[in-house]
Symmetry: C2
DNA sequence: CTAGATCCTCAAGTAACTTGAGGAGCAACT
DNA sequence: AGTTGCTCCTCAAGTTACTTGAGGATCTAG
């Protein structure tokens, strides 16, 4: 068996969460209380997976309450399957919406950087053609996605 | 001239920020103090653009401090153009990184929903094949992006 | 066996808002 | 002219999701 036990610092490294954040998650009941050896917390591979998943969801802007829901999707075995699918579907909708917005910002920024590199661009920003382009792209972004409902279903 | 003056509620609608949030942004100096008529704030098209841009950046997970920096990108004309480009480039890196992670999550979720719809799925989650698929996809997601540096440059 | 890194708990601080109290102003129907 | 209802104002307190700090114990390497 290769299941080594990890102290909290190693878990933090592997999951990209900070040590105090992990303790905080335990405190609020998002992750189960860790096993202890001489008062110190010990973790396994399952904990690395769970925490990585949690950190990822947080990066995407889901609230801790929603993350709790998502974690329970694949850990809790006594829920109605259709209900679980509906939750996942709704999360998927949000994720797709975020992706279109991120794509629009990516386009704005890359256009800006490209034109800033290609045009003669030695002076201050007021002389720089690319700056005007940038503020123009933001207007375009707005036109592209006019009815951004602010995902109130998910973060309210 | 078609420049109508907007009360704070209309600005909130158009920019997708809440009314208290706009007042808060004024208070912390992120947006300039609005003109007033009978004590009430009045705004124009420029304010709609600025606030929409700010809201969008916040949705993408940039801190208010970073947003301040980005707002000054196209409003402040006395900065070195190369410096401005470097800031934009760094933002672009973060945005691209977020996009690959979002894409991975999108894949996980859509696979889950699809298989949940196709297989016989009438009981509880412990009976459902799709749940096992989902937790498997999360492991895949982890393998796809192992060195997530947590964007410390941007949100520290 | 000691020096430094890592761990522990508990309390307080921070960012970015949100909510609530208490009150004034404007629009528009009657 | 009155009053009903919506929007606005300020100021203070609450919320979420952490982070930082104090004060102390414990493990690990040289």
């Amino acid at each position: 068996m290769k299941s080594a036990f990890l102290p909290i610092g190693a878990l933090a490294d592997q999951s990209q969460c900070s040590v105090p954040t992990i303790r905080y998650y335990e405190q609020i009941g998002l992750i189960p209380p860790a096993a202890r050896s001489a008062g110190r917390r010990l973790y396994g591979e399952e904990d690395v997976r769970r925490l990585t998943f949690i950190r990822r969801c947080r990066d995407f802007g889901f609230s801790l309450e929603r993350v709790k829901e998502m974690v329970s999707l694949y850990e809790n075995g006594d829920r109605d399957c259709a209900e679980v699918r509906d939750i996942a579907q709704a999360h998927l909708d949000v994720v797709r919406h975020r992706m279109t917005e991120l794509l629009a910002l990516e386009k704005s920024l890359s256009q800006f950087v490209t034109s800033c590199n290609s045009v003669s661009c030695q002076g201050t920003t007021s002389d720089c053609v690319a700056i005007e382009d940038l503020s123009q792209s933001f207007k375009e972004v707005r036109r592209m996605a006019p009815a951004t409902s602010k995902d109130e279903t998910w973060n309210s």
